[in-house]
């Protein structure tokens, strides 16, 4: 097995630009790795081998011709299957879109192509990004490379597992309530949900429009920053896209690693720190250890209170299903995707076909949320549910504003636990929802958040994650503090975390 798969994107970038390796070699190495391990991991729903090699060869040709190429040109990437890719299947993990080939690229995908990254394929996810384990994929669960009996997080478990299994150095994700950060946390990888509006949503199959945000996934903070830089930027096709305020995240990541964080104020959110929130001891131990490292490096730790966060989960599970129930209405068998005729009806009406298709095409979790959302928006209930939830949202934004008056960044554990066993929470949706208790407030407020590995929990030897949060449009702070903490942890733990399982498979 080629050692190329162990390289970070930044390292590959150097090797490629110096001509030491070709993009075709790098791509082939990752395709080989996918062929070797993905039968066990199931990170990919679709591998675009031929297309990837052709893209890589084109990059090599361009480089030989002396073309000016971006830093990540020729570096392979795995794309979450929620993003439309022209000519490549896009299912969002649902039977509803089985076999659908989009006629257009998501803006994010177009930006990746323009930066000449090489698309390896599409990664698995919970159906329409609803879930925290990837078990709700209509195409079977993804397995955590650290322990194949465990979940890789969700909804972006395919992307996080692909990174942890060294099937790709970079991956894209989308984060509506934690779908980038929680999978990063339970697989020992890095994931960032940028400020709402920083990355175009055009071509992302919408879950909840006011919460969805695409972002970068990688194994190091610097790699994440490099990908963030490619993905972010104003898009006239997305009305909610930011027109300005895109800080230099790559410079921030580099500065954090070299210049440190002395004098920075770091706020620990009281409501997301242990207590009776179901936080695992090993997760809290690694979190406190990280705080100690940051203090030692000269940061000032303060405690902040965000009292409304306790209502965040409840508000989230009204706003998300409400928007989702409307966003998913378009899947009606009329224009694309699955079409199912009702059983025993000879000449069914359009309505009967719609109903039969939606009954057959949506999984249980999706149906659950459509029903919840439809109910919450119904006349007579709107004010009590959707209206109240929006008020909570305002309160959470105020809590953040107050907290950021006291600290430059806020921290919490990303997920209360390490990766749980496949199937452990399938019959208990509420306990599954609680996986996102710490990540949801950032989506409700639109602020950016990062998860990076804080170490391995003592009790199970599985990765734990720490979450950093920054004010809107100050994504650079995440990278500065994240890169600093990463180098402190590397010093103390002896290097980035590698999944034992997949490492063995590499031999």
């Amino acid at each position: 097995m080629s050692e190329l798969i162990r390289r970070t994107a930044a390292e590959l970038s150097g090797l490629l630009s110096s001509g030491e390796v070709s993009a075709v070699e790098v791509t082939q190495a990752h395709l080989d790795r996918i062929a070797q391990v993905d039968g066990d991991v199931h990170a990919f729903l679709h591998v675009a081998g031929e297309q990837a090699l052709a893209e890589a060869a084109a990059v090599d040709t361009a480089r030989k011709a002396g073309e000016q190429l971006g830093a990540l040109a020729g570096v392979p990437i795995a794309v979450k299957d929620v993003m439309t890719t022209q000519g490549l299947p896009t299912t969002a993990g649902s039977k509803m879109l089985e076999g659908w080939i989009p006629p257009y690229d998501a803006t994010v995908v177009r930006r990746l192509k323009e930066a000449r990254l090489v698309t390896l394929g599409k990664t698995n996810m919970d159906e329409f990004a609803m879930g925290s384990s990837t078990e709700h994929s209509a195409y079977g669960a993804t397995h955590n490379p650290w322990d194949l009996d465990r979940i890789p997080g969700g909804s972006g478990g395919g992307s996080s597992a692909a990174l942890a299994a060294f099937e790709a150095p970079l991956a894209t994700g989308t984060d509506t309530g934690g779908s980038i950060r929680q999978p990063a946390s339970v697989t020992g990888t890095v994931g960032v949900k940028p400020t709402y509006g920083a990355v175009s949503r055009y071509g992302l199959i919408a879950l909840a429009s006011s919460l969805d945000q695409a972002g970068p996934c990688a194994r190091t903070v610097l790699d994440t920053a490099l990908l963030h830089e490619v993905m972010a930027g104003h898009d006239p096709l997305d009305s909610t896209s930011l027109t300005d305020g895109y800080p230099d995240v790559v410079a921030a990541a580099k500065a954090g690693a070299t210049e440190g964080i002395a004098g920075l104020k770091i706020g620990v959110i009281r409501e997301l720190h242990g207590g009776d929130g179901g936080y695992q001891a090993g997760v809290m131990a690694r979190f406190d250890e990280s705080l100690a490292l940051l203090t030692k490096a000269g940061a000032e730790i303060v405690e902040v209170s965000c009292p409304s966060f306790t209502a965040a989960l409840a508000a989230y599970y009204l706003i998300l299903p409400s928007e989702a129930s409307s966003n998913l209405a378009k899947f009606d068998a009329m224009r694309y995707g699955l079409r199912v005729g009702p059983a025993g009806v000879e000449a069914p009406s359009a309505e009967q076909v719609m109903a039969a298709t939606r009954a057959a095409g949506f999984g249980d979790e999706v149906k659950r949320r459509i029903i919840l959302g439809t109910y919450a928006l119904s006349s007579g209930y709107y004010d009590a549910y959707y209206g109240s939830a929006q008020k909570v949202r305002t309160l959470i934004q105020r809590d953040f504003a107050a907290a950021f008056g006291q600290a430059d960044v806020l921290v919490s554990p990303t997920s209360p636990t390490t990766a749980f066993k496949l199937g452990a929470k399938l019959d208990d949706p509420l306990s599954m929802y609680l996986q996102d208790v710490a990540t949801i407030p950032a989506n409700l407020a639109g602020v950016p958040g990062m998860s990076l590995p804080s170490g391995l929990a003592d009790e199970d030897g599985l990765p734990a994650g720490i979450q950093l949060l920054a004010p809107a449009q100050a994504d650079d702070r995440l990278y500065r503090v994240g890169a600093a903490l990463e180098s402190l942890l590397v010093e103390s733990w002896g290097g980035p975390f590698l999944a034992k399982n997949t490492l063995e498979a590499m031999k």
């Binding site: 439309t84 659908w100 257009y104 006011s210 928007e323 009329m334 694309y336 719609m354 439809t374 119904s378």
Partner: protein
């Protein structure tokens, strides 16, 4: 109204009005004439091959997002201002959720409790010149749906159809929905007020140049709400009755007829002790009646919520004022100005307006004709022909420029009135411009004095009695002889010259 008598369930209109006070509400949908759709860059051209003007956005493909057409917003604000509305300083789009195959996303991007324009009015002129103020509740932006075509079955409706086809070219075309407040106090003139309102609105929108306002093509569509309440001394104290909503009443005449029919129908139900159900009703142009559609009520739950894919709209006050400055002269004022410029009486002007001829006369005058001549053509010969063919004046296949040309030929002596009418006939038959028709048909005034003189002599010989009268000094009797000559010459003679010739021969001393 033969159709009314076929149905026992209607009450005589006058009797209905004695017992009940009608209250109306009009909802008018107007397609804007922007080049591109409301939320994407697709063309809005009418009549293209089905499903050729579509993209991921207006087809509702997964992942696609809307972006607001700024020209559409501008038109909406201008319409609001022209209707004397307040313009929202901050408003949003909302999603109206319901499933229907011609709606790509299964929700319509519309506005709900935050319309762009609200609280206005439109003064409309009735046939007798009186002004009636119709209050406007709101004007809001939304997107049109696709168009379903139901194949098979007899009615063209979905019931009984074998299959349906959907054309999404129309999906996403910008619409403005203009909703009146309840129109009270119109009494027996309710049908006329309804028609006059739609007509005035159409005139206003045309002057704003924001829409084609072609009711027959569906670029302006009207839904008529009507309810009755018992007559009372203190009418305002009587609560409104249950209303019906008659959909797609798509001509001015139909608006009037539909209101009248609903008043008679509802009155019959109420008189017999029945109740009116809140429902949508279908209008039948051919029979002039409405029939029950689906029950419709405030219980229809569209699960409105603010559209999260679009940012709120906050038009700057300065921009709104700039748009206000672009408003055209209000049509009623403009008519008054034109009336004085043209020197028409009130009645003449009202006839022009009611006949839909103001713009046509204006364009004819602009093309060089005198106002009197232009009016004569459009309210005379053309009105007669249009009436015969059951067309509106605007639908007649002749342009104001052609009419002006025709008149120039008359003024220049090349055509007599009678020849000019024949030339017009040719223009209407598609034979070309008046000059081409004149040439093709050989419509030339006979100026051969010899031939004219012989014809006059023949007429005198054939009508000795009349000739004697003229000889005796009754010059006005010459008309009959002139008519005979003109008939013989098939209208190609110059009547004035014929008259001169008659007088010359019979009463040379009389003043011609």
């Amino acid at each position: 109204m033969t159709s009314l008598s076929q149905f026992a369930e209607v009450l005589d209109y006058d009797e209905a009005l004695e017992k009940f006070d009608p209250v109306l509400g009009l909802e008018v949908h107007v397609e804007l004439n922007t080049h591109t759709k409301m939320f994407c860059g697709c063309s809005t051209e009418f009549g293209a091959e089905p499903n050729t003007q579509v993209c991921p956005v207006c087809l509702g493909l997964p992942g696609a997002l809307p972006v607001l057409n700024q020209t559409g917003l501008e038109s909406a604000i201008r319409i609001g201002l022209a209707l004397n509305c307040s313009i929202a300083q901050w408003c949003r789009f909302a999603r109206k959720n319901y499933f229907y195959p011609d709606m790509p996303k299964n929700f319509q991007t519309s506005q709900y409790d935050e319309p762009i324009a609200f609280e206005g009015y439109l003064d409309v002129e009735l046939e007798d010149g009186e002004t009636f103020r119709v209050e406007i509740e709101r004007a809001h932006m939304e997107e049109d749906t696709g168009k379903s075509l139901h194949i098979g079955g007899s009615t063209g409706r979905i019931q009984g159809a074998e299959y349906s086809l959907v054309d999404y070219n129309r999906a996403g075309i910008p619409l403005i929905e203009i909703v009146t407040k309840p129109i009270r106090g119109a009494g027996d003139r309710a049908p006329e007020v309804a028609k006059a309102y739609v007509s005035a609105l159409r005139e206003l929108l045309r002057a704003l140049k924001v829409s084609d306002v072609k009711m027959e093509q569906g670029s302006m569509r009207c839904d008529v709400n009507a309810s009755l309440r018992p007559r009372a001394e203190d009418q305002d104290a009587v609560p409104l009755g249950t209303r019906t909503e008659t959909k797609n009443v798509n001509s001015l005449r139909s608006v009037e007829r539909a209101v009248k029919y609903e008043i008679s129908r509802q009155a019959a139900v109420l008189v017999e002790g029945g109740s009116i159900f809140q429902e949508t009703r279908h209008w039948h142009e051919d029979t002039g009646i409405t029939t029950s559609g689906r029950p419709k009520s405030d219980a229809d739950d569209y699960r409105y919520f603010p559209e999260p894919d679009l940012v709120p709209i906050a038009p700057a006050a300065q921009w709104v004022e700039e748009l206000r400055a672009t408003l055209p002269e209000p049509p009623a004022l403009r008519r008054r100005r034109l009336q004085s410029e043209w020197g028409f009486s009130d009645k003449e002007m009202r006839d022009l307006y009611n006949g839909g001829a103001v713009e046509l006369v204006e364009a004819t005058v602009a093309a060089g004709a005198s106002s009197a001549a232009a009016r004569k053509w459009w309210t005379g010969e053309l009105a007669r022909l249009a009436n015969q063919q059951e067309k509106t004046l605007a639908e007649m296949p002749v342009t104001p420029a052609q009419i002006a040309q025709l008149q120039a030929l008359v003024d220049g002596g090349q055509l007599t009135d009678s020849l000019a009418r024949q030339a017009l006939e040719g223009v209407l038959a598609g034979e070309g411009d008046p000059e081409q028709v004149v040439e093709k048909r050989g419509l030339v005034v006979v100026s051969d004095e010899g031939a004219l003189g012989e014809a006059v002599d023949r007429a005198i010989a054939a009508n000795p009695g009349i000739a004697d009268k003229i000889r005796a000094g009754k010059v006005q009797a010459a008309g009959a002889l002139i008519g005979a000559v003109m008939k013989e010459m098939k209208g190609k003679a110059d009547a004035a010259r014929v008259r001169e010739l008659v007088i010359e021969r019979l009463a040379p001393d009389a003043e011609a």
